[in-house]
């Protein structure tokens, strides 16, 4: 008796699951060109400074932060997008003004920032990035270094039009 109920439930569950997967499988290819938008990461906006100036490099440099900025609707690279970058480095704390700087993406939607070496702070070696651009939702990232000896870090943005 008991096994009968479970079997019927199992069939119903599996059936509806298969139906859901099948239908969504039919829908997804219709907008396959779109990219999943990059969600803001927890703690990403901590110690953010609005309107940090565009700089050639932050401090003395030596560590490279790179990434790309693309549009969610069609995956097109976005040029001239302002990305602010900050971290706890060998030259200053996250909150220090001198630890912040912004840069713009090139025609391929690529940004690069030369900055001081990131060092572990608050228990993790991590950086912060903000995409702060008109016409797109603001996104804050907080990527981690795999090792504190790492000399570069990559963070990509896929932005949603407001």
């Amino acid at each position: 008796m008991r096994s009968n109920i479970i079997t019927r439930r199992a069939i119903l569950t599996a059936g509806s699951a298969a139906l859901t997967v099948g239908v969504s499988g039919l829908i997804v290819p219709a907008k396959a060109q779109g990219l999943a938008p990059t969600p803001t990461m927890r703690g990403g906006s901590n110690n953010y400074r609005p309107n940090a100036p565009i700089v050639e490099r932050i401090g003395g440099g030596g560590f490279t932060m790179t990434g790309t900025v693309r549009r969610a609707s069609d995956g097109m690279p976005l040029a001239g997008q302002r990305i602010q970058i900050w971290a706890h480095t060998t030259e200053g704390h996250e909150r220090d003004e001198r630890s912040h700087g912004a840069t713009l993406t090139d025609e391929n939607g690529v940004f690069t920032m030369d900055m001081p070496q990131i060092v572990p702070a608050f228990g993790q070696a991590h950086g912060h990035l903000a995409s702060e651009n008109e016409g797109f939702e603001t996104v804050f990232l907080r990527p981690l270094l795999d090792s504190p000896d790492q000399k570069s870090l990559t963070a990509d943005f896929v932005l949603v039009t407001v």
């Binding site: 927890r42 703690g43 990403g44 901590n46 480095t89 060998t90 704390h93 228990g123 993790q124 504190p148």
Partner: protein, 196 residues
């Protein structure tokens, strides 16, 4: 107990408590930190070290100390522990307010925060319970049970918190201190609840 053995036990305990603090003093990360951040970090390490003393004093495992004196020191170390937790959290708050607010609200991206904050609340609860024990006329058995449960939460929370952090503590002294704290707590818990 021989004087040599007594000396060895005290020496070993002093080493277990001081080595992690001393080793952290040589951390290369210190040069990139402001004084308040350094103090906050060391308050955390000192708190972990004090945790080792608590089960040892509660069980009166040290030579040449009367049970009464051990209890008294246990109480004083308990108060010191509360002060270390406060110094740790307030120091970190001054260093980076949003990171500490995230941690206290259990929404921090760092996986170790939840362990540390849980241990913090357990430390505060222990202090409040200890202060109200007489007033509330809590019976010895209930008191021991509640105090030990909180102690276990504090020890597990603090040890996991410390082990997951990439900070100023040196790797081997951190592992050794954490292991000692867990073992000492387990021995005391076994003695209290599984008397053979």
């Amino acid at each position: 107990m021989g004087a040599t053995r007594t000396g060895l036990i005290w020496g070993a305990l002093a080493t277990a408590l001081c080595a992690p603090l001393l080793a952290a003093g040589f951390s290369p990360l210190l040069q990139y930190r402001q004084p308040i951040y350094i103090i906050a970090g060391f308050a955390g390490i000192a708190g972990l070290a004090l945790l080792l003393l608590q089960p040892i004093l509660a069980g009166n495992y040290l030579p040449d100390i009367s049970a009464k004196r051990a209890r008294k020191i246990h109480k004083i170390i308990g108060i010191a522990l509360v002060l270390m937790v406060l110094a740790h959290v307030i120091g970190l708050w001054i260093t980076s307010p949003p990171d500490v607010i995230d941690a206290l609200l259990f929404r921090s991206p760092t996986p170790f925060s939840i362990w540390g904050v849980t241990a913090m609340w357990a430390v505060f609860a222990t202090a409040i319970l200890a202060a109200l024990r007489r007033k509330l006329r809590i019976r010895l058995h209930s008191w021991r049970y509640a105090h030990m449960m909180l102690a276990v939460i504090i020890v597990i929370g603090t040890v996991v918190h410390a082990l997951m952090i990439d900070g100023t503590m040196e790797f081997y002294t951190k592992i050794a201190l954490c292991a000692l704290v867990v073992v000492a707590t387990a021995i005391r818990a076994k003695q209290l609840f599984f008397k053979s």
